[in-house]
C-alpha cells in the first residue's frame, strides 16, 4: 500500500532521492575530502543543513494537519520545542561533573539557583531511552489533551488558530520562569556529548545530519501513507465538508485528534534532532512568531502536497540564513513580502508551479 502510494508521488520520489544522495555525499565531502579541497563541505554547513532538515520534518507535520485536515495550527512550534527540551534535558544530564560548578548530580543552572536536589520531573532523563520516549510522549500528550478539549467543543477555523497561538505563548511565559526548573530564559545549553560521542566531533555532526535526513524520509513516508489511505481521503473530506463526513457516520473529532496528535509527535522528533545540532534550547523556541513562520514555509512550498512543505522549509530557511547574514535588517520584510507574494501569485506555492496534473 505504501509502495503504491509512493509510485504515483513524483514530488516525494524527488525528495527521497535527494535525501538518499545527501546521506551519502555529505558525509564523504565532510569526512573524506581534505579541508583545503574546493569540494570540502565545512562542518558548519553540515550542521546548518541538518538543522534545515529538522525544519522540513516540522513543516511536513504542519502540512499534514493544515493542508489535508484544514486545522491551521499556529502552535506547532510548541511541540517542536517540547521535543527539543526533552532531548536538551538528556544532554544536560550527560554533562555530569564537567559543568562550571562540577556538580555531578545537578546541572549548572540548578546549582546557581541554589537547588539542593534534582526536581522530580528531571529523573529518568539520564537515560537516553527515557528521553527519547518523552520526546514523543510529551508533545503527543499535550496535543491529545488540547485536541480533545478543542475538537470535542467543535472549535474550528480562526478560533482554533488563536488558541493554538495562546498555547505556545503560555508555554513560552512558563518556560521563561526560573521556578519552572528548565533553566529560565537561558534555557539549556553547554552540551558536551550524546551517547558518549562528543558534539564537537565532526563525525557526530555528520551522524546527526544523517539521522535528520532519515527522520525526514521516515516522517514523509508515514504521512504519505496516511494521506493516500482512505483515512487521508476522509481527512480532505472533513476539510472541505465537515458536516457531510459527520452525517456519513464518521467521528470527525476522533480523526482530528488522532492526526493532530501524530503530527505533534513528528514535530517533537524534529525538535529533538534540532537541539543537539544547534547546541541550545531556550523559551524563544515557543515564541508565537516561530509557529507562524512554519506556516509560511508550508504556504510557500505549497500546502497539501507534503513535499512542497519540505521544499518550502528548506528554501525559506536558506534565504533566511543568507539574508540575516548579508542584510540583517531586511529579513523580516523579505519574509512578509514573500508571504504576500505567494498568497497573491502562487496560491498553491512552489509545488503548484511544478505540479504535474493528475489525469482526470
Amino acid at each position: 500500500m505504501l509502495l503504491e502510494a509512493l509510485r504515483t508521488d513524483r514530488g516525494g520520489q524527488v525528495l527521497l532521492a535527494i535525501l538518499a544522495v545527501a546521506v551519502v555525499v555529505v558525509p564523504v565531502l565532510n569526512l573524506a575530502v581534505p579541508p583545503d579541497s574546493p569540494l570540502y563541505l565545512s562542518t558548519y554547513t553540515v550542521t546548518l543543513l541538518g538543522k534545515y532538515l529538522t525544519y522540513a520534518l516540522l513543516a511536513v507535520a504542519v502540512d499534514l494537519v493544515w493542508g489535508y485536515l484544514g486545522i491551521l495550527s499556529l502552535g506547532h512550534g510548541a511541540f517542536f520545542a517540547l521535543g527539543g527540551y526533552a532531548m536538551g534535558m538528556y544532554l544536560m544530564r550527560q554533562i555530569g561533573e564537567r559543568g562550571v560548578y562540577g556538580n555531578a548530580d545537578l546541572p549548572d543552572f540548578m546549582v546557581f539557583l541554589n537547588l539542593q536536589e534534582l526536581p522530580w520531573f528531571w529523573h529518568g532523563f539520564g537515560q537516553l531511552w527515557f528521553a527519547l520516549l518523552m520526546v514523543g510522549l510529551v508533545p503527543g500528550l499535550l496535543a491529545f489533551v488540547f485536541g480533545y478539549l478543542a475538537f470535542r467543543s467543535r472549535v474550528t477555523g480562526v478560533y482554533l488558530s488563536i488558541i493554538t497561538q495562546a498555547l505556545t505563548y503560555a508555554l513560552m511565559l512558563a518556560f521563561y520562569r526560573n521556578e519552572m526548573g528548565f533553566g529560565g530564559n537561558n534555557g539549556l545549553t553547554d552540551f558536551k556529548d550524546l551517547m558518549g560521542f562528543s558534539l564537537q566531533d565532526d563525525r557526530t555532526r555528520v551522524a546527526l545530519f544523517v539521522l535528520s535526513a532519515v527522520a525526514l524520509a521516515g516522517g514523509y513516508v508515514a504521512c504519505r501513507g496516511i494521506v493516500a489511505s482512505r483515512l487521508g481521503r476522509l481527512m480532505i473530506g472533513i476539510r472541505d465538508a465537515e458536516g457531510r463526513a459527520r452525517f456519513l457516520g464518521y467521528r470527525v473529532e476522533h480523526v482530528k485528534l488522532a492526526v493532530f496528535t501524530f503530527s505533534a509527535v513528528l514535530a517533537g522528533i524534529a525538535g529533538a534532532l534540532y537541539v543537539p545540532q544547534v547546541g541550545i534550547i531556550n523559551p524563544n523556541e515557543f515564541s508565537p512568531l516561530n509557529s507562524i513562520e512554519i506556516v509560511i514555509w508550508v504556504a510557500v512550498g505549497g500546502r497539501a502536497t507534503l513535499y512542497g512543505a519540505a521544499a518550502g522549509a528548506l528554501l525559506v530557511n536558506y534565504a533566511k540564513t543568507y539574508f540575516t547574514g548579508a542584510l540583517p535588517e531586511v529579513w523580516l520584510f523579505a519574509l512578509g513580502g514573500l508571504f504576500v507574494l505567494v498568497t497573491l501569485l502562487l496560491p498553491r506555492g512552489i509545488a503548484g508551479l511544478l505540479r504535474i496534473r493528475r489525469p482526470a
Binding site: 489511505s229 483515512l231 481521503r233 452525517f247 456519513l248 457516520g249 464518521y250 467521528r251
Partner: protein, 269 residues
Amino acid sequence: MGAQHEQWEYLNPGKTFAETLNLSHHTLLYVEGVSVSFDGFKALDALSFYIDVGELRCVIGPNGAGKTTMMDVITGKTRPDRGIVYFGQTIDLLKLDEPQIAQAGIGRKFQKPTVFEHHTVLENLELAMAGDKRVLRTLFARLTGPQRDRIEEVLGIIGLTDAARQSAGALSHGQKQWLEIGMLLMQDPLLLLVDEPVAGMTHQEMDRTAELLTSLAGRHSVVVVEHDMDFVRSIAKKVTVLHQGRVLAEGSMEQVQSDPRVVEVYLGE
C-alpha cells in the same frame, strides 16, 4: 426494571443498531411532541408525526415552517427542548449523536448539495460506504470485490456510471444532488431524509429524480422536504403540511389541497 433495561440495550457494545432495531409495529420513525425554540422563537411546537417502514412521505410548508429544524432534530444536530424521537420501538435518537444516528441507519441529504468536491465520484461513494468507520480501520481499509460491485450498482442507480472517475466538483448541480443521494444509499440506510432534492434542476432532471426517489421507496423509507408543488404532486402518496412548527394537515395530495386551512397558509398564496 425490564423496560429500563430494554431502553438501554442499544448501548450494549456487543449489539449493533441493526440487532437492536425493533420494527414489529411497522413504524420506523416516531416523532412526538417535539418542541424547539431559538431565542424565544418556536421553530417546532409540539410536532408529532410517524413514518412507516418503506413509506415515501413528502413534507411541505412555507418558509420558516420548521422543515429543516425537524431534520436537524432527527439527525442529532439540534436537541429539542421537549418531546421524544424514536427509531423503531427501541432506539431513542435523542440519546445518540450525529455519527451514531448515521450508523443506526438514517441518511441525510442537505439542502445545498454537499459532496466532497476534491474527490472523484467513486471516492465519494467509497467514503460513504457502510462499514466500520473508526480511525484505524479507515486507515487500513481496502475495497473488497463485493464492495466494488455495490459501488457499481449505486453508480447505475444514480446514473453516474460514466462520470465515476470525474471529480465531484466538476459535476453539474443536478448530478451533485444525485451523487449525494447515492452517498446516502451507500450507507444502506433505513430512512432517507432528503432536503429539497430538485432545487435548481431542469424539468428533465426533476423527472429523473422523481423516478429515482419513488424507486427507492419500499426498500427504504424516504422523507422528502420540497417546495416545488409539481414535483411533490408527481411523487407523493402521503403529504404532511407543516406550519409554524406544527402539523397543519396530513393525507393524500388531494385531501391536503382541498383543506381550507392549507389553502389559506400555503397553497392559496
